[in-house]
């Protein structure tokens, strides 16, 4: 170590490292163990700190920031409860592959293991819910660890990384080491470029397909905006139909005629039947989640499956595929387009025409139809009107979890990636509002709307205080049906209509609640006044909470009941008596 003068404290060194990693914003909450870091933050003006009201919200805000920008989201929390409160957010980021760095305070190294005040075994607790984690035991390791952590978080399949920082490490002094570029990790080297031979095989298979379907997911979002452009280009070159997963919405323009809508449990009839009947499936950046496949033994039984994924452990996990390709979706698509152009495969246009005719027949079932009356607002109608008013504006959508989330996925159209932030894998109620804050921080002038349910919004409602403090004009669009809607729907379908604990008793007056936090509250229950309310919400340049009172009994259709196959869809309320859910299916969630 060099003389004292040139050395900096661990905390200063950390801030320096964050700046070198091009971090602009940190979402956090102070506490005893991280006081040295907060002191360092106080003494500089390069890094902006956003003070949340709960650590879970800090992680979700960082997720929204990361998903809407493609950058790494950074979180700073204290030891013990600060770290344990962050666990839900970390798990959410792991499931949805969001790059996050979470800095957690820790008691001084000599107290670790002594059950000290606000001590928790943070690396132990977060081991299964992070991509990787570190406990920094010496200040000399700090800068290197931070740089390595950023590399791990953002490369390969992105994910959350925790760096646990004992207080003495933050106060000890050491010289700073700048990041080495390019980073060469000694063991972690994700495969980014695909094997060309496999891409050639894939093109052969794709070119010879008679009933093909593209199935694209969140991997395309993580591969960057260019990957979405390449996907669109390739799908247009082939003329094949494409469906998106919940996480992949926006990677292909929803208004395009080749788009079949979302697939899966609440996906469209045409998307799911295309998956069932296809002969070649081209999965790019999706992971055959159980919400997508339904009953595994009857999942797309007649198809040859190509699976492009950057994570080898996603391949053959749920569904055995015929042609796995490990690599970054962007690189693979680039190669696919090149090989396709070079080989000019003879597409069977006659077969393709027949396939599209069949798809159009399924489309004509109009599976998202609903009946709006003059009395009560249907949630689907509310979203259709919302979309009508925002579609020509620069907008970002986040959601909570439940019926409203599925309706948002069905009725809002996404034309480009990074515009849709939702908790897909973990299904975290309370995700949408803090996530919207993170999006708004990254895009101060954009229209950011959290489509919420009245139950979900209560889970992180304290963040109204944060949006007030930073004057974030986030809009919370609550579809209020006074029930945990999806729970109620399942109870209706599977548990004889016994609505056990799913009624939201004693809801607050959301208008007054908004006002109490310095936001604007609006309410609407009349379908005729809905448009005006939405316009008003958009025009107000402050945080707005809109309480839209919708039909309490509306269910989310189409629906593939758990354990059922793709052809066993329920298309509407009249459909369900004919198809009782099996006991086997009831065990599944």
């Amino acid at each position: 170590m060099k003389p004292e003068e040139s050395a900096t404290t661990g905390a200063d060194l950390l801030v320096k490292a964050l700046i070198d990693e091009e971090v602009e914003v940190v979402f956090g909450y102070p506490g005893g163990a991280v006081l040295p870091i907060y002191d360092s933050l106080f003494k500089q003006n390069r890094l902006r700190h956003i003070l949340v009201r709960h650590e879970q919200a800090a992680v979700h805000a960082a997720e929204g920031y990361a998903r809407s920008t493609g950058k790494v989201g950074v979180v700073l929390v204290t030891s013990g409860p600060g770290a344990t409160n962050a666990v839900t957010g970390l798990t959410d980021a792991l499931m949805d592959s969001v790059p996050i760095i979470c800095l957690t305070g820790q008691v001084p190294t000599h107290l670790i293991g002594n059950d000290a005040f606000q001590e928790a075994d943070t690396t132990g607790i977060t081991r299964p819910c992070t991509k990787h984690n570190y406990l920094v035991k010496a200040v000399g390791d700090l800068a290197r660890t931070v740089h390595e952590a950023f590399y791990v978080a953002r490369s390969g399949r992105p994910g959350p990384v925790v760096i646990d920082l004992p207080k003495d490490v933050l106060m000890n002094k050491h010289d700073y080491t700048a990041p080495k570029k390019p980073v060469q990790h000694k063991s972690y080297r994700p495969q980014v470029k695909p094997e060309l031979k496999k891409v050639e095989e894939a093109i052969e298979l794709i070119g010879s397909a008679k009933r093909p379907v593209f199935y694209a997911g969140g991997g395309i979002v993580n591969a960057g905006p260019k990957a979405s452009k390449l996907l669109t280009q390739f799908v247009h070159m082939t003329g094949y139909p494409i469906t998106n997963t919940l996480m992949g919405l926006g990677t292909f323009p929803a208004s395009d005629k080749q788009f079949l809508g979302m697939l899966g449990m609440h996906g469209t009839y045409e998307a799911n039947l295309a998956m069932y009947h296809c002969d070649v499936m081209i999965n790019i950046g999706a992971r055959f989640d159980d919400r997508i496949t339904g009953k595994l033994t009857e999942f797309s039984p007649k198809s040859k499956k190509i699976h492009v994924d950057i994570d080898p452990s996603s391949i053959n996990k749920n569904v055995r595929v015929d042609l796995p390709i490990v690599g970054d979706a962007g690189h693979v698509l680039e190669d696919m387009i090149r090989v396709w152009k070079a080989r000019q495969p003879k597409v069977d246009h006659k077969a393709l025409k027949a396939w599209w005719a069949e798809i159009d027949k399924w489309r004509s079932r109009n599976c998202l139809a609903y009946k709006q009356d003059k009395e009560t607002i249907k949630p689907q109608y509310a979203l259709e009107r919302l979309y009508h008013h925002i579609k020509n504006r620069d907008h970002y959508i986040t959601t909570e979890v439940g019926q409203h989330q599925m309706w948002a996925a069905q009725f809002l159209k996404f034309e480009q990636p990074n515009r849709w932030m939702t908790s897909g894998g973990l299904g975290t109620m309370g995700y949408g509002f803090p996530s919207a804050m993170g999006v708004q921080i990254a895009h101060p002038d954009a229209l950011v709307i959290d489509v919420a349910g009245e139950a979900s919004i209560m889970m992180n409602i304290q963040e109204l205080s944060t949006v007030a403090q930073y004057r974030l004009p986030v809009k919370i669009f609550i579809l209020n049906n006074q029930y945990m809607g999806m729970v109620r729907q399942w109870q209706e379908l599977l548990h004889g209509g016994r609505y056990s604990e799913s009624y939201m008793e004693s809801l607050p007056d959301f208008v007054k609640l908004a006002e109490a936090f310095g936001a604007v509250g609006l309410r609407c229950h009349d379908p005729a006044k809905l448009d005006d309310t939405i316009k008003q919400m958009i025009d107000i340049k402050k945080p707005v909470v809109v309480d839209v009172l919708v039909d309490k009994a509306e269910n989310c259709f189409p629906m593939i009941p758990s354990g059922a196959a793709h052809y066993d869809m329920l298309l509407g309320p009249d459909d369900r008596a004919a198809k009782p859910v099996s006991e086997e299916g009831m065990v599944l969630v």
Partner: protein
Amino acid sequence: MSAPQTTSSHTISVLVDNEPGILARVVGLFSGRGYNIESLTVAETDAKENLSRITIVTAGTPMVIEQIKAQLDRLVPVHKVRDLTVEGPHIERELALVKVKGTGDKRVEALRLADVFRAKVIDAKTDSFVFEVTGTSDKVRTFVGLMEGLGLVELGRTGIVAMSRGGEAL
């Protein structure tokens, strides 16, 4: 397409950074995802490079085994994952310490069988022996089985270490 459902046992060698928490990562992966561990052996093998070698014997369907290997390989401090069972011939060895108490005929018979199994006596009292036996798990199991009838009182086993045959290194 459905995969074959037959379960088979695989010996997997994993080269990892010898750092705190690495064993917890590997074991947590197995428990968290519901995989079996039949045997687990770990020790540092390269002090200069700070590497440890973990040998895991696990059982599962081909699809599960493939998952286990991919999941292990995905851990950041993991350098290499090799499935010795499928990658050509390999050798496996296990060591056991076997304490047998008894006198008279049983004691003599225990000593005679130890000789047959080439087990070494590493501790002896007038009424007890501790044998050290090395070999395949099958051999160790067979020896222990024989000792059960001859006064077995305590048993310690290392779990398997394994390596491929021939000149190629992991």
